[in-house]
């Protein structure tokens, strides 16, 4: 118990120190920007990880909430001139409400059917972004999203934005941790271990799944908000089916049911294309190969896989030492 708490404290402290170190130590705007994107993707992966890793529900349409967050804030702050911070509240409420309405029937499905249901939802939302062009700017995209400001602090500079995003990530990590160690989190993990047993001991699994669906929608909306005000331009393509698949991939490749897995998965899937740019034409081939190889040899995801390798080599070292 106490060991666990101590471990979490050390982890969080290390995390904070790394954020501060990166933010203050890195001077190049390009690298800061990549790390900001990693932060935004981490938020997405965190939310989806709660849903997939802990509640065991696959969503193939999660980019919809990302988009809802981005478009709500874009429309409210860009078109109607409302303060972005007020727009953030609206964006999150909107995403949570839609998650509730959609989740109510959809989460009764299971397995691939749930995948299909969420996929359909994602497609519908994306088509609305594209077709409702008088409001959303259609497929050409939405121009004119204002910059974020908080009193005297402007988030125009890459560094400030980096800190903003990563502080949000830190808060989200803490939130997820708190949920997981609570009564709700235990019930959630029990669904993952055995939904039937969980039902039989009195967990209202449907309601719980719905709650966590709404929570992950909220995180998605926050990520969308941060993305919209960072790039200051959004178009439907950034929230399409492939983005949903990418989110699922981040979660699985990082390691399901692990908060750090979300971070690792998001980092890998954000950095990999940047690194692979050098291979030009061969980028897709290499990317696909890496995805397959990681999944074949580390089915538990990178977090578990790397830990296994580490422990294995330590054991071997010990054996050699003796």
């Amino acid at each position: 118990m106490d060991d666990n708490k101590k471990k979490q404290w050390t982890e969080n402290t290390i995390f904070l120190v790394v954020i501060l170190g990166c933010g203050l130590g890195v001077d190049n705007t390009y690298y800061l920007q990549i790390m900001t994107f990693i932060g935004i993707n981490t938020l997405l992966a965190l939310g989806l990880n709660m849903l997939m890793g802990y509640a065991g529900q696959v969503s193939l349409g999660h980019a919809a909430f990302y988009g809802i967050g981005a478009y709500t804030t874009a429309i409210l702050s860009g078109t109607y001139g409302i303060s972005p911070w007020a727009a953030l509240v609206c964006a999150v409420s909107c995403a949570v409400f839609i998650a509730f309405v959609v989740g109510l029937p959809t989460l009764k499905l299971s397995g691939y059917y749930l995948g299909m249901g969420t996929l359909g939802f994602g497609m519908i939302v994306n088509i609305l972004f594209r077709e409702w062009s008088t409001v959303t700017g259609g497929s050409s995209g939405f121009v004119g999203i204002p910059m974020l400001e908080a009193g005297p602090v402007s988030f125009m500079s890459g560094r400030n934005y980096f800190f903003l995003v990563w502080m949000v990530v830190l808060v989200a990590v803490l939130l997820c941790r708190r949920i997981l160690s609570s009564r709700m989190g235990r019930a959630l993990r029990s669904i993952h271990d055995g939904e039937n047993a969980s039902l039989a001991v009195g967990v209202n699994t449907h309601f719980l799944k719905l709650q966590i669906f709404m929570f992950s929608a909220a995180l998605g909306a926050v990520a969308g908000f941060l993305y919209a005000h960072f790039v200051m331009f959004i178009s439907p393509e950034s929230f399409g089916f492939m983005v949903s698949v990418k989110m699922v991939t981040m979660v699985v490749i990082g390691g399901m049911a692990s908060v750090w897995g979300a971070l690792l998965g998001a980092s890998l899937l954000t950095l990999l294309p940047e690194v692979l740019h050098g291979f030009a034409e061969y980028e897709m081939i290499i990317f696909g190969l890496i995805l397959m190889v990681v999944m074949i040899f580390m089915p538990q995801g990178l977090t578990r896989g790397l830990l296994d390798i580490y422990e294995h080599s330590r054991k071997r070292d010990k054996r050699h030492g003796n």
């Binding site: 939130l175 949920i179 609570s182 235990r186 271990d193 969980s198 967990v203």
Partner: protein
């Protein structure tokens, strides 16, 4: 043919059959009334017009050959299956409209034939999940960690540790439940079920896979649970255990109730012996 004669026989010999005397089953002090329960799967009748009732505080054995419909009956009492006809009354109230978790809150808990602990969670956490219906904090409680939430959590932990002590599992509290030996897992399931403070506890083959020593310990545990005023229903193939601790025994065969009565009565029942030995 055979079943018909068996039915006739059982009616004669046991006299107090509920089908014959409907007024009996409305006795308000019964904790559980099962009335004319029928369930079909595809074309197969899994439960055929089953009726019985259980008085509070007793241990009721439910026996019968494989495929007799014992687990199906449990699933209907706990609300996982909906009966095609007939009804279940718990404390005099029909349960038809209640969801599984509502029934657990009302006081029905169960264990599984094949252990279904939450393998990746510690034993303590398993018992805490069992306490789910008796605790309140939700999403906002988890996020804000208000003092009352922390108090509730502390109390829940204390109670869970008490339960683990009661079942003799204290030393495993912080081990992942999946790593425990089977015997301990069976006990752990009972601890988890007790955590929901049930009035009626359904045990599905608790002794399956246990060695004689463990079985004996299980018998003692059931006895102690009974002392806590928990009514129990028990599906069991270990006859010495079932007959030894049950106050009343119900025999099912092929979805039908074959006999009901005290262990002694049932043991001497011709039809029951036939069902177990005669027809193979």
């Amino acid at each position: 043919m055979v079943t018909d004669s068996v039915k006739a026989f059982s009616k004669q010999s046991l006299g107090s059959c509920d089908i014959e005397c409907p007024k009996d089953i409305t006795r308000s002090h019964d904790i559980l009334n099962v009335r004319n329960l029928t369930k079909m799967f595809g074309g197969v009748t899994a439960q055929d017009d089953i009726s019985f009732s259980i008085e509070p505080g007793i241990v009721c054995g439910l026996i019968g050959p494989n495929g007799a419909g014992k687990t199906t009956l449990f699933n209907m009492i706990t609300g996982i299956y909906r009966p095609d006809s007939g009804q279940v009354l718990f404390n005099g109230r029909p349960t038809r409209k209640m969801a599984v978790h509502q029934l657990v809150r009302a006081g029905i808990a169960r264990t599984f034939q094949h252990v279904e602990l939450f393998g990746s969670m510690t034993l303590l956490e398993n018992v805490l999940v069992g306490m789910h219906v008796r605790t309140k904090s939700g999403f906002w409680g988890a996020v804000t960690r208000m003092p009352w939430v922390m108090r509730e959590e502390r109390r829940a932990r204390e109670k869970a540790m008490d339960l683990l002590e009661f079942t003799g599992l204290t030393q495993y509290a912080h081990r992942p439940a999946g790593d425990l030996p089977v015997g301990r897992q069976k006990m752990a399931e009972i601890a988890r079920a007790l955590a929901s403070e049930p009035k009626l506890l359904l045990l599905d083959e608790p002794a399956a896979g246990l060695n004689p020593v463990e079985t004996e310990a299980l018998g003692k545990l059931i006895q102690r649970v009974k002392e806590r005023a928990v009514t129990m229903m028990l599906v069991e193939h270990d006859m010495s255990l079932a007959m030894g601790i049950s106050d009343k025994v119900i025999v099912l065969d092929r979805g039908k109730k074959l006999a009901e009565g005290s262990p002694r009565e049932v043991q001497n029942n011709q039809a029951v012996m036939e069902a177990y030995l005669g027809r193979g």
